[in-house]
C-alpha cells in the first residue's frame, strides 16, 4: 500500500476512532462516578460477636451513619466503636462516625446471647461528596 493510500484510509477511519475514544471516556467517567465510595461486609455475623468491615475510598464522605438491626430485645454487652443510640425494643443500634478517612474500619458488637445465622442486617448512609446525594447501602451476611 502506497503512503498516500495509507493516509487516505487513516483519514477515513479518523471519525470512527474519535467517536470510540469519546465513548470510552464517557463510559469510564460514568463508571468512576457510579463506583461506591463505601463498601462493607460482615466478617462475623452469627454467635455472640458481630464483626463488620467497612472500607472507604477517596474522596471519603466526612460522616457515616451505620445502622445495625438485631432481633428485637437483644442485649448488647460491648460495642467498638461505641454506638450513639440503641433501641433495645426494636433492636436498632446506630453509629454516627465523624471525621472519616479513606481506609478500613472494623466495627464489633459483643452480644450477651448468641445469634443464629441470618438474623441480622444493616445499613450504611452517607452523602456522596462528589454529587452531594444521599446514599443508603444495605448490608446482609
Amino acid at each position: 500500500m502506497g503512503r498516500k493510500k495509507w493516509c487516505e484510509v487513516m483519514l477515513r477511519r479518523l471519525p470512527g476512532v474519535a467517536f470510540l475514544c469519546l465513548l470510552w471516556c464517557v463510559v469510564m467517567s460514568g463508571r468512576a462516578l457510579a463506583e461506591d465510595l463505601v463498601s462493607c461486609r460482615y466478617l462475623q455475623s452469627a454467635g455472640s460477636e458481630i464483626v463488620l468491615e467497612v472500607e472507604v475510598l477517596a474522596p471519603p464522605p466526612p460522616t457515616l451513619i451505620v445502622v445495625q438491626h438485631l432481633p428485637p430485645g437483644t442485649p448488647i454487652g460491648k460495642a467498638s466503636p461505641r454506638y450513639k443510640r440503641y433501641d433495645r425494643a426494636s433492636g436498632e443500634a446506630k453509629w454516627l462516625l465523624k471525621g472519616i478517612r479513606a481506609g478500613r474500619l472494623i466495627m464489633s458488637l459483643q452480644l450477651e446471647q448468641p445469634l443464629a445465622a441470618g438474623a441480622i442486617s444493616g445499613e450504611i448512609r452517607y452523602k456522596d461528596p462528589r454529587t452531594g446525594g444521599m446514599v443508603t447501602m444495605r448490608m446482609s451476611p
Binding site: 466526612p62 460522616t63 451513619i65 450513639k84 446506630k94 465523624k98 448512609r125 452517607y126 452523602k127 444521599m134
Partner: protein, 316 residues
Amino acid sequence: MVETEAFNSSLAMVGIDGGRVRSLREGKGLTQLYVATAVGVTTDTISRWENRRYPSIKKENAQKLAEALEVNLEEILEQQPSPDAESPDLPVIQESSFSSAKPLFSRGSWLWWLLILGGIVATGLLWWFFRAHQLPVTVTASRILPAHSPVGQPFPVIIVVAAPQAETLSLLVKETLPAGCRLVSAVPPMTVIDEQGGILKWLSKGDSRQRVFAYMAVSDSNRGLGEVLRFRGDVTLRKGLSDETVIQGADSLVLRNFHWADTNADGLVDDEEILSVYDSVSVVEGLDFDRNLIDEIWSGKGYRWEEENRAFAIMP
C-alpha cells in the same frame, strides 16, 4: 484611666506621606475602592489623602491603611527631613571622572539611542495593551444560612468565596448583619468589626481556590416570632476590574421555634439532616456550634421548643 488612654489613642493624629501612599497603592495594583473599603472611608477620602503632600489623619485609620497596603505603619508616615541627614556611604563622584567620557550623542551613536528609545516605546505600548485587555479577576461568593432558628438561639452562617483557579488573591469580605442580630464568634477571626453598624470584615490573602468565612450569630431576645432576618454582603477584590461581588445564596432566616438543623421543621433531626450538618458546617474548623445538642436530638425521638425555659426539650 485606661478608657481615657484608649479614647486619646483613637483620636491621635499622624501625618502621612500622600505621594508614598499613592505609589504603594499603585505599585501593588490596588484600587482606591479596595483601600477605602479596607480602611472604612470613602474613595474621595483616599483620593484627598493621596493628593495632599502630608495630610494629618487618625492614627487608627493610618494603621488600617498600612494594613491594606501591606506595609508597616512607619512606611507611610511623613518623614521629617533632618538637617544632619547626609549619606556618607554614597560614593562621591569626582568631576574628573566625566572628563574622559565620550559625548552623549557622538557621530553614529544616535542610531543606538533611537533603537533604545523605540524599544522603550514598544515596551510601553505592549504593557498598556496587555493591561487594557487584561481579563478581570472574578470570584463567586455564596452564603449558606439555615432557613430558621428560634429567637435568641445561635445559628451558623457560612460564606464560601471561590476563584476560577488557584492564584494569589487578596480580597475583602464584608457582611452586614440584620438589625436585631449580633455576632457570637467567627472563623477566621475578623479583621474589622463595626458592632454598632453590624458590619463584619475579613481581609484575606492567599492562593487557595476556595476560602470559607463562617460565624455564629444570634437574634436579640426581643425579636418576635415570624420575623425575617435579612443578611447581605459583598466581596471586594484587591485587583481586577470588577468592583464588588455580591454574596449570593441564602440571605434570610425566619425566627421559628425549630432548630436550625431541622431543615424540614418536623420536630426531628433525621439522618439526612445530621449528615448535612456534619458535611457542611462541621468542616469549618474551629466553628463552635451546638453539635452536642444536635447529636442528642438526632439520637432521640424528637424535640420541642420550650418557651418558658427558652431551650429545646429532647424526647428520649
